[in-house]
Subunit: 210 residues, 2 copies
DNA sequence: GTCTATAGGGGGATAGAC
DNA sequence: GTCTATCCCCCTATAGAC
């Protein structure tokens, strides 16, 4: 039952402590505003150990970013490649999983969006995003739906944008939204839960013939 | 015809040069990653003049941020308070104006979103966001629409979130989207232009009775 | 108002003891 | 593996000449 590192499961290894702290601080403040000293304090380890285990701040950041993007896209991959679910069920599952995921990790969307803008190429090379989307069962089912023809005009790319926008943007805009509307955290959370059911319905309406 | 500063209109004052450069660099890289030296180089002025005119980097950043948020919300205010247009026309105008605006200033949405997350209170106090939205003609017209009752259930807040999400998010997600789909800049621009017409239609469909 | 020169502090990284 | 002490560069801000 020991881990591969031969440590107890209860207390993390130093390496893992650093990564957990780095994840937290980088997600919250971004690369430039984060000091290695913040990570050291957050994790309770000694500053010098960051260099010992990860060589540089930049290297640590790259590791965290790659892992974060992977984790985020994992939900997508699981749903997109599920053989047992229908197209409509996949939409429901996407809304459900991502709204839960982002509710628990609210800093991740802005973190990824910023990381990708600052360095679009680097991460594009290392993460098989195209494969996940374009070679998925979801994409096949999408093509079949287009063949049926009993829908309003669908551009697959616009469809994808709409789906993702409706799911993710409210979380990114949360501070602005709460500022304008005076919505409290509990209300906001309730609204996001409602969107799990509403988004699939809305998406269907958008593409049904009039 | 002279400006209040008594300078020619053709070449900007030093103060304006600095602000223009600061705007550009802050929008692109954010506060922490921006060095005052970047702003000096970008504007072609001497580093010491930034302190002379604006005292500190932080103060300059605050000025830029406030102006940016004002400028962004101005489109909203103009459309929301227009007495001559109908509710549906306002939706069309919003999509139209914001898609044009963000196309020209693509860094602004992420800049504002990040600024508001890092300091939600400060800007909330200084910008009359609530007034712009909740005391607008748009909001009145919205209430009237609710009274009519010939629509699917509408939560005003969810409606607002959907509208804004569909307009803004594609621009924020542009790097990720292009990475996944291989879409080029020209294609992306064309898609956003199409959305000017599509978003009002989609929004209507979402809220029409089945 | 604009420049040069520099103060002063902070932050990433490492040497070397334990 | 972990710690203390410190190096050294870089960045903001300012003093002071022009």
């Amino acid at each position: 039952m020991a881990t591969s590192k031969g440590k107890k499961q209860l207390d993390q290894s130093t390496e893992e402590k650093i990564k957990a702290a780095a994840r937290k601080v980088f997600h919250q403040k971004g690369y430039a505003a984060t000091r290695t000293r913040d990570i050291a304090e957050e994790s309770g380890i000694n500053l010098a150990l960051i260099s010992y285990y990860f060589k540089s701040k930049e290297n640590l950041y790259e590791i965290i970013t790659l892992e974060t993007v992977f984790k985020f896209m994992h939900n997508l991959a699981v749903v997109f490649h599920d053989e047992s679910s229908s197209f409509d069920e996949k939409i429901e599952q996407l809304a459900d999983r991502y709204i839960d995921f982002i509710s628990k990790e609210p800093d991740i969307p802005l973190f990824i969006l910023t990381a990708m803008r600052n360095n679009p190429v680097k991460f594009g090379d290392k993460i098989p995003l195209k494969t996940i989307v374009l070679e998925s069962i979801f994409y096949q089912q999408f093509q079949e739906k287009l063949q049926e023809g009993n829908h309003a005009d669908i551009s697959p790319l616009q469809y994808l944008l709409n789906l993702v926008s409706l799911i993710i943007f409210p979380f990114v805009a949360k501070p602005v939204f709460q500022n304008i509307t005076g919505t409290k955290d509990s209300q906001f959370h309730k609204m996001m839960q409602e969107r799990k059911k509403l988004i699939p319905i809305w998406i269907k309406s958008m593409y049904s013939k009039p």
